[in-house]
Amino acid sequence: MALEKQRFDTLILGAGGAGLNAALQLANANLKVAVVSKVFPTRSHTVAAQGGVNAALANVLPDNWHWHMFDTVKGSDYLGDQDAIEYMCREAIPTVYELEHNGVPFSRLPNGKIYQRAFGGQSQNFGGEQAARTCAAADRTGHAILHTLYQQNIRAKTHFYDEYFAVDLIRDDEGYVLGALVLNIATGEPLLIESKTTLLATGGCGQVFRTTSNAHINTGDGMAMVLRAGLPLMDMEFFQFHPTGIAGKGMLITEGVRGEGGYLINKNGERFMEKYAPNAKDLASRDVVARSIITEVREGSGVGPEADHVLLKVNHLGEDVIAKRLPGIRESSKIFAGVDPVKEPIPVFPTAHYVMGGIPTDRFGRVMPSADDDGDHLPGLYAAGECACASVHGANRLGGNSLLDILVFGRLAGHNIIDYVKENSAHRSLDEASVEQAMSRLQKWDAKGDGITVSQLRNEFRKTMEDHAGVFRVEEMMVEGVEKVRQIRERLSQVRLTDHSSTFNTNRTEALELENLIDVGLSIAVSALHRKESRGAHSRPDYPNRDDKAWMKHTLYWMENDRLDYKGVRSQPLTVESFPPKERVY
């Protein structure tokens, strides 16, 4: 049967905040844009973002984008690229106003302006008093933004392929990406989408770890597609563990809880963050707070029958503040922890949350495939959102900078794609061999017979990642981890589907996702093993210090032979002076 084909100016893979904000710019400019999403757009994981989006609007306390930039550079433990960070912090302001104009129901201040709350790692005046920079719609900011962007895309008549799974990118001999092979999940029919430009906006990969705040869909699909296309991933060793997941479950309790005045206590009722971060306390950077919690538990100050978590105290804020500012958290705590935070503290423990690394891009969203500092971008291929690495988060992302990153760079990628399509109006001819390669990825799962099940291997893989590439990482444990993940990858060929039907076959899509997870997991484990220093979220008790001389550089990982290379941090901002590396204390 002939493969069905469709043509578009732009193909966007993923319908979260980055994909939808890009799509909106493109559709408003009357480009023919297709958005492919494996779930209905409002089910994308942006919907789960709680606390808010950073922008120096100065609605509550004095602020400006330069202070925001300083905090982000410091938060990144000096691994972020300062040109991209300057750009993001400047663009934060018009981006948030545009969202508000599009209808986002932000919470409000008495003067009618957008409500902003305090979040971790934020300061006024380059490291001074706490700032209030996080624009919030109660504790449902991601939901409010994602729904608004979807609504505006309906108005703009964006073409959606809902519940289509992206199998692989299609490339020609010269390396140009010409679109993607996608699978209609409901019918099992493949579809070839040809495009002049392709934007990867497929989100994160938190499902590589067993305990995670990430959704079932966060399987690193775009990152793995990039690896299979022979392109690198950058800084994958930097994975953020959010300090406050619901203990034993992993669901997120927003940093906004601490921003509103909540704090952590151990079994003695001691406010332990005072020891680890005397100034910022509970609002220190996420890597710092996560390590402090784990240290407390390891030293025997944990709470509960297993002494395996700590408590987040909120009740002193009073029922009114909790109802107004943190209604979603109250709901989640009741359902998953069985406690009402108005009365009792919430049991919490760090949970895998966010990948700082990803597909290397420049600050225009263009994919940069080379380790050469002056290397060229790949024409027509873009990445934005959690799957991309601009790099604005470096070794540790600040709360409220994730929504910001996806919205700013999604919007910007949209604008750059508009310019690119003006100058490159023709489709390049399609390479049949590349299509067949993508098809073979699908067809190999048609193999029948006995084997390992998808869920068996997935469980084993996620446990291995948690045990060997978690918050604290030492050499022997990581060598073993890399070896185990390699073996798991070998055993992928022994996995067999028990379900071979065409209609809505989740067994097949989960097998494709598992393959993606393992490829991305290995990039994390290998990159982490080789970085012999502690920086941001990458914490090596065997190399406890940051080593700027040897390691102030980005890791690049290629799948072929697990090859690594490195490239320098871009420390030169666009218009202001560089922030030189300093000791990072909170």
């Binding site: 779930v39 209905f40 409002t42 089910r43 994308s44 994981h45 919907v47 789960a48 609007l57 106003y97 508000e100 104009h101 599009n102 209808g103 129901p105 932000f106 919470s107 409000r108 201040l109 008495p110 003067n111 009618g112 302006k113 957008i114 719609a137 449902r140 939901h143 409010a144 729904h147 608004t148 609504q151 505006q152 309906i154 108005r155 409901a186 959704a215 079932h216 869909i217 479950k249 669901m251 997120l252 979603g328 709901e331 989640s332 359902i335 998953f336 069985g338 099940t453 998808v454 869920s455 589907l497 028990t498 379900d499 039907s501 065409s502 209609t503 809505f504 076959n505 989740t506 067994n507």
Partner: protein, 230 residues
């Protein structure tokens, strides 16, 4: 714990049937965990799910006769054997997966986006906290579809009555002080069916996993129309 689960694969089954499963119940287990355990026993069992915390709206199913989100429904609150079916009144694609296209089409019919006709200010459009309060209980909808498929008016007139979700959305924009398309929005809801088929049976309120109240929203729209008519 005993389960009876609706099964139907159009490729191999001439008609749907119920299948029994048994799942070991652990402390704090949600219905989604049980469905995943069933899937581990039989990989061909199919349902939608994603966030696992009640915000993405993927895993709406019919449980012991009521529509619920599987991920925030505690097994401890369910009577055995737990009967799990797809949403009533929707075409079944496979097992618990239903075709939601009509539901989404109805949502689109109410022009679900903010319409602000004045030139945009350089900064945010101002809105007082009291004005913003008007959106509470309206904007939080996760489009799971629990409400619409529990509504008898929707079952009787699925092609004409817009259903509680779309009407809640209409009210969300009517209630927004920034929106400047009130007349057009109300005109679109005129006639005996789109809005007025709601007979305040309130199943939507009962089934909403986010504790929203579409019936109240519909009443509110009716009240605005009445006020405008006088």
């Amino acid at each position: 714990m005993k389960f009876s689960v609706y099964r139907y694969n159009p490729e191999s089954d001439s008609e749907p049937y119920m299948q029994a499963f048994e799942v070991e119940q652990r402390q704090g287990m949600m219905l989604r965990d049980a469905l995943l355990a069933i899937q581990a026993q039989d990989e061909s069992f199919t349902f939608r799910h994603s966030c696992g915390e009640g915000v993405c709206g993927s895993d709406g199913v019919n449980v012991n006769g009521s529509n619920k989100l599987a991920c925030i429904t505690a097994l401890a609150d369910l009577k055995e054997p737990v009967e799990v079916r797809p949403f009533p009144g929707r075409p079944v694609i496979r097992d618990l997966v239903v075709d939601m296209s009509q539901f989404y089409a109805q949502f689109k019919q109410v022009d679900p986006w903010l319409i602000h006709k004045d030139p945009m200010p350089e900064q945010e459009i101002l809105q007082s906290p009291e004005e913003r309060d008007q959106l509470d209980g309206l904007y939080e909808c996760i489009m799971c579809g629990c409400c619409s498929t529990s509504c008898p008016s929707f079952w009787w007139n699925p092609d004409k009555f817009l259903g509680p979700q779309a009407l809640l959305t209409a009210c969300r924009f009517l209630a927004d002080s920034r929106d400047q398309a009130k007349e057009e929005r109300l005109d679109k809801l005129e006639g005996p069916y789109k809005l007025f088929r709601c007979h305040t049976i309130m199943n939507c309120v009962e089934s909403c996993p986010k504790d929203l109240n579409p019936t109240k929203a519909i009443g509110h729209i009716k009240a605005i129309m009445l006020k405008d008519a006088i």
